[in-house]
């Protein structure tokens, strides 16, 4: 049996819609993961927390439309600081379909919209953790 998976969840930028992020946080905790929820944070704060906490999964919640602009900065900053590799990056929120592909291209491992279920989210996270050799 492996160790517990550690997850960092953050609200991206100034977007105040925190319901979904908390629901996912509770969901992952109930699935046996360690979850840190840091509330609203800008990309540099998120990456700083990645450095401090060393999570396996980084979940970014965005319902405010900044998923591309600030979402890109999260990935770029993580790469600059050398903490991108060996982690799963997930984006969730209100994301127009045309942007889902773009986020994957930017370096996110998965994107979840409002219809995503607990089953899907857990399955995808576990699959990505395995693919990346983290679990």
């Amino acid at each position: 049996m492996g160790r517990r998976v550690k997850v960092l969840i953050a609200k991206l930028g100034l977007d105040p819609h925190w319901r979904g992020a908390l629901v996912v946080a509770y969901m992952l905790r109930n699935a046996g993961m360690d979850v840190i929820y840091i509330g609203n944070a800008m990309p540099d704060e998120i990456v700083k927390t990645i450095i401090d906490e060393d999570p396996d999964v980084v979940g970014i919640s965005s319902l405010g439309g900044a998923h591309i602009s600030l979402g890109r900065e999260v990935i770029e900053e993580a790469k600059r600081k050398g903490v991108y590799e060996g982690r799963v990056f997930i984006m969730g929120g209100v994301i127009p379909p045309r942007d889902e592909k773009k986020l994957i291209e930017l370096g996110y491992d998965a994107v979840f919209g409002p219809g995503a279920t607990e089953k899907e989210i857990l399955a995808v996270i576990n699959q990505k953790l395995k693919e990346k050799g983290i679990l």
């Binding site: 609200k11 930028g13 100034l14 977007d15 105040p16 819609h17 925190w18 319901r19 908390l22 629901v23 946080a25 509770y26 969901m27 905790r29 979850v35 840190i36 929820y37 509330g39 609203n40 944070a41 800008m42 704060e45 405010g64 439309g65 900044a66 591309i68 602009s69 600030l70 900065e73 209100v94 127009p96 379909p97 045309r98 919209g113 409002p114 219809g115 279920t117 607990e118 089953k119």
Partner: protein
Amino acid sequence: MFHEVKNRVEGNSKIASYAEDLAKELIEEGLSAVLSKKLRAEELRRINLYNEEALKEIDKRFSSWFGERLPEKDRGSFRKALYLLLGSKERIPRPLVCTPLDLRDLDYVRDIGFPGEPPFTRGVHPNMYRGKKFTMRPIVGFGKPEDTNRRIHFLLKQGATGINIVFDLPTIQEYDSDNPYARGQVGLCGAAVDTVEDMKALLKDVPLDKLSISLTTHYPSNTMILGSLFLVAAEEMGCKWEELRGTVQNDPVMELVVRTSPESLPPKAVFKIHVDNIEFLREKVPKFNYVTYNGYNLREAGTDEVLEMAVAFSTALEASLEMMRRGHSPDDFLDRMAFFWSVGDDFFLEVARMRAARRLWYKLTKYVLGASKERSWWCRFHVQTSGISLTREEPLNNIARATLHTLAAVLGGAQSIHASAYDEAYSVPTEAAHLVSLRIQQIIQEETGITDVVDPLAGSFYVEWLTNKIEREILKEMDSIWRMGGLLRAIEEGWLHKRIAEFAHREQKLLEQGVIKIVGVNIYRADKASIPPIDVFRYPEDAEEMQRRKLEAIKSLRSKERVENALAKIMEAAAKGQNLFPYVIDAARERATKGEIFSVFKKIFGVWKLRISI
């Protein structure tokens, strides 16, 4: 060190001490105990609508119907609600059929009455929609102020009768468009407004003296800042403050609970600014609703319909007590207090809830706060159809949802309505989707005759029973808030945050288990290929760049010294415990930016952070 939050009492000290005693009584004895004590004399005068003999006969017939006619399988579940719905914690159990037996002690005059008369169950106006149609107030806001201005004129041309302006996240979180925190978010989700100039561009050619404008300012601090930008803009556009009609939100729960922000003011500071806004706007902008207690966003964040109203009313009571502590009589300010409800899926309950809200608010203002003018007793409200019910799957189904919610709001006697657009699970609405949402309201108003008769569901055994039931539930929830020492304390201790998080998580589970059914999502799912994709709105891409340039230009034109002086005066006023609004207006006049003013607030009060442990 930060300044202590100070409030100066300048008015009537007798009212102040009454409020002081009342607050103690509410915390020590509980709200319902205080209310029933004050209502006792009135309760003794009750006259039952149904006579004992009639009830006895109904009772007898009911027993035989129940035992002989009703299928056996329905007897055990007689008092259960059949479905669990979105936005309700546990649906209030309800009988398979309602009869006068569920309303044994109904007193027509005291429980229902006439429209425009206490207890206002049937509406605040005697002629309701025959006298004044409900305001069709669509939400609008995106991009630069100029972009939003164009959409406002589009909606007015299509027959909107009010406007509800929403601001982008940097504006709501009080950062200027050129702040690093605002990067990538300027003009998304709402309009960008940094200075008086932006407010003027936003409102260009809008008839401010005729049209009622709702500024979705959300927070008290933002209400003072954006409210100041608005008032100075109106003044410079040649409009007198006394003529302005409209609304600001000014809700402390929005600032402390519903939002999370990298930087937030502490609860006591938020509450002081909240009451400063009420005090200032009531006096200087008399036709403006200085507050709209926003149950809507709280429920959308994750609460049930009962807590939504309990929190809004508790905040309203606490603010009223604070206004009284400052020496204002309740009749001097209550007439412009307004509410904002969500309307969800439990159709008849939603209608009943709006009726119950009016009756309960009447009792609270008259009997608890001691208001004596009729207008002080009115619970007037805006309604927005549920946003959480909108699905990304099969988006056109959302038109049906918004229509049912709008219908419930009309049957509930709302003053003003916004029907959500069908594409809101994707983005802010396209022009086409916006138009459909406006048309929903126009079709109800013009094509159905629904507004002909006031409060048409009154007298329905079911609706009256639900109205009584939900009123009691709201009061019970308010009791639990007062037992904690009032809403502000409940927030400081994280109680409300926890309630929301638990509710949202539980609801999500019920959705995924298919217990709460959503058509097209977890029941009756269509083949994806058979649903044509909808157009999704594209934001104007130049907002951030243009706002930066505008800020640069304004900063080079204004007098740096005068701006700094004006900002320093806000700090001085805070140290003396004065109302900060006039000083913020002076700063806005000098073209201080919204972010500069918020920075002063942070300097005065400090920043508060509530961590949520999971």
